[in-house]
Amino acid sequence: MTQSDLITILPLLALVVWACALLLVDLFIPKGRKGWTALLAAAGLALTMGLTLAQAGREASGFGGMLRLDGFSTFLNVLFLGSGLLGVAVAYGYLKRMDLERGEFYSLLLFSITGMMLMAQAADLIVIFLALELLSIPLYVLAAFARPRADSEEAGLKYFLLGAFSTGFVVYGITLVFGATGTTSLAKIVEVLAAGSLGTGSLLLTIGAALILVGFSFKVAAVPFHMWTPDVYQGAPTPVTAFMSVGAKAAGFAALMRIFVMAFPSLSADLTPVLWALAALTMFIGNIIAISQTNIKRMLAYSSIAHAGYILMALVAYGNPAVAADSVASALFYLVAYAVTSFGAWSVVMSLEKPDAKGLEINDFAGLGRRNPLLAAAMTIFMLSFTGMPPTLGLVGKFFLFRTAIEGGFIGLAIIGVLTSLISAYYYLRVVVTMYMREGEPQAEGEYWLTFTTVVTALATVVLQFLPAALFALAAGAVLK
């Protein structure tokens, strides 16, 4: 281990040490004072964010090429840390109100973010597997955090079983890829493929890559591997759901992009039709089932499935060298747009949620427009952004995605994307209609940090769309080489 190795993982190291220390410090913070734990967790995330930003622009490899520090990892790490900070902000009041105030929440959150950051930096299949476990296991526990509420326990167990199952796919895929190429390093796989002497191994390689794709499709909730999503998103405590829908999804896509764009562009002839079908199915089924949902958490879960489809659309063209860079950049851009919008929407849901998972029907939003104009306006912005309508970031994000698909030559897929966006307008706008045109007396919580999150994300959703070029340039600078 050299000094440059340590510099490559400096933010990661800081966060791991901080999370371990937080676990111990929290033992000595009395019950009812867990605000201190939340504050310390936020401080750790902010410190790590500072270290990550200080490293921006650096490119380095560490640990014999197993880990990379580049624009891609910096961009995603900032996204993970940002969603972690928002997660702490919304969780603090929520946990108190729902009587779930246990300090482990924040340590687990920090451990999960460490896994995500490792995923963004991984350049070796074994490290990707390690990162996948590190990010998933704390999330399994967090999903069951609202125990003894039965649906939360069910969510934890379901997520654990299906998560373990999907990890099995990833590991099996990794073994086959290793069997075919004799290496787990992404850079070396490219060299072996370029040498082109695989013989029967090329079949093994394709099957291995397909199995890895299946495993990560579970993680990002793409159809037909989405079955766990609605139940887990509904049962898990809402701050965990918000964090999961943003962080875990982004980490899954990070791994997919690293593996496929970096190592397997030569397999695109085999895998592009598969990705095409996955994207189309995910957009269609996610959006259509969302229409029939009456529970807002389930509706947002299906919406999150549908958005995984939109992001997959950008990856379909990954094998075409002319658009590969744009495909990664537009996917990253949309991940940011989705993160901001999704966190905002979940924070509004949290404001209206009552103990024992009450207040989560879409009908419970009736009358919010009159009772709490600020929340209703924010929710309207988020729903418009999900649909991809102006004046929001969602519109710009979808524009880049569709442009990538069309430039890659997948006009049919882009048309499916536009059509399913139209379908989605029905159920997103129904929330807006319920808020403004139905009578009701919803009681919204006025917690400071929760409202703060709602306002910040709503402002970001609107303001960031005026600087799409700057944000897209950042995402484009984060492209893999």
Binding site: M1, C20, L23, L24, L27, G199, T200, G201
Partner: protein, 118 residues
């Protein structure tokens, strides 16, 4: 390359075949006399007491998990001790980090009362 696996396939096939032959021969030629002793789950050993799916304290599970954790620690410590001189300071630091992480978990479990029976 696939031909190299033919031997394994033949091995699996023959193993299954031998198993089937043994069962079929027993069915054909064996005397069929059922007694109470033969119908018991285990012919030898002590008689079963109560049903197999009894309720038992969940604490056993917790203790078992903690045991596995620290058992794994030992599993890593033994080979490390054998090559300790070769690894030098690097090995010492690595193992210190490993044990420090486990120690965090240990303190957490202790403080939370996971090691107490009541």
């Amino acid at each position: 390359m696939l031909l190299e696996y033919a031997a394994i396939a033949a091995f699996i096939f023959v193993t299954i075949l031998v198993g089937f032959i043994a069962i079929i021969l027993g069915m054909l030629f064996g005397p069929k006399k059922s007694t109470d002793v033969k119908a018991m789950p285990y012919e030898s050993g002590m008689n079963p007491i109560g049903p197999g799916t009894r309720r038992m304290p969940v604490r056993f599970y917790l203790i078992a998990v903690l045991f596995i954790l620290f058992d794994i620690e030992t599993v890593f410590l033994l080979p490390w001790a054998i090559v300790f001189r070769k690894l030098g300071v690097f090995g010492l630091v690595e193992m210190a980090v490993f044990i420090a992480i486990l120690l965090v978990g240990y303190i957490y479990a202790w403080k939370k009362g996971a090691l107490e029976w009541d």
